[in-house]
Symmetry: none
Subunit: 185 residues, 2 copies
DNA sequence: CCATAATTTCGATAATCATCTAATTAGATA
DNA sequence: TATCTAATTAGATGATTATCGAAATTATGG
């Protein structure tokens, strides 16, 4: 999502479009005239900005009036200013889990809100976390911590629980993911 | 400047790099391993991020440790959240001068407010204007006027002063930019 | 001063993307 | 319906850039 945002911003013409829309709404013709571009080109850029949710469209007759969506920009700005949210970028595109329980424990940017206090909810949440690890690969403790921290700051609790539920195994400081058949129910 | 920032952000690999650096410093090798990219590729991305001022480099032996420059991101975030700053994007890229004196003489859209009445301020302002010309290129008087008029309507005064300060030279109606070493102090 | 290790630079290739013209859609008007 | 206007879509072209392997660079340690 963030990637789509910044990609939409990452072109001179589109930045200038946003600049123009920041002061007032414009039609495609107007924008094309100011930027010395052809209408199809402007239309193309506006489509990208719209897909990213950065501008909105109001149609009147056959004139299309474009407006800046300042809220989207504010949301992006907050994401860029927060170290926590930045860390979530590391994981690449997020795999939204089907499980409702797990989804309720995830923030919009794919981080865990907390360690589940309800005992029943622990297994699905931990299972989801365990699946972030590759099967058949070995991890140092630092690597385990790094992967966990992508989802929650409390690496100690989650690492201990993953091992406790037999989702991760550990020997001589090396960790690996166990097959799902061995996980606690 | 903002364009350079967002361009640097606008790639999945680079966003993920920032995400990793948000939690702690990393070497090139480490980053390459996590992202499954070759070192030259990561090096390339880091160079872009560094030029934009988004990451910094600490060298120890022949290992390069990269760190996130959270301040740059905060600055960018503020720019995106403010309507006023957004409006300045409309004007296209203005080569924002570092010099405070010059900045005070520029409108938001990169034009000169006036010819400096204070004698001391003339040199930096004229130097900035002179740098709008390419070195080693020859200009007709019409071309000189056109370039100056982009920055101020009074082409006569500025053209005369540029020549007077030995920033531009003229012979047989042809102008060219002189090396900075020859400019009046 | 040679060997090694980590990184960067170089050069080539392939993919992505911005821009244009021409053709098409959709609304308004007569 | 015919026509005019504003915008979008399609298709083609050229420019930018991500990635990699190979070569060059830089620092360390015998």
């Amino acid at each position: 999502m963030v990637l789509e945002f910044v990609k939409a911003l990452a072109h001179e013409s589109r930045l200038r479009l946003l600049g123009l829309l920041a002061s007032r709404e414009h039609s495609v013709q107007q924008l094309a005239a100011v930027l010395s571009l052809k209408e199809p080109t402007v239309s193309h850029h506006l489509a990208l900005l719209r897909e990213a949710g950065l501008v909105s469209l109001r149609q009147d007759g056959n004139t299309h009036w474009y407006n800046l969506q300042i809220k989207s920009l504010s949301r992006l700005a907050r994401a860029l200013a927060s170290r926590e949210q930045l860390e979530t970028f590391a994981g690449g595109p997020i795999d939204a889990p089907e499980d409702r329980v797990v989804r309720n424990y995830l923030t919009r940017d794919g981080r865990l809100k907390s360690f589940p206090s309800t005992r029943k909810k622990r297994r699905p949440v931990l299972a989801w976390l365990a699946r972030q690890f590759d099967e058949g690969r070995r991890y140092t403790e630092a690597e385990v911590n790094e992967l966990i921290e992508r989802r929650h700051h409390d690496r100690e609790t989650f690492r201990r629980e993953l091992v406790g539920h037999h989702m991760l195994a550990r020997k001589d400081g090396v960790y690996w993911r166990l097959p799902e058949s061995e996980w606690d129910v």
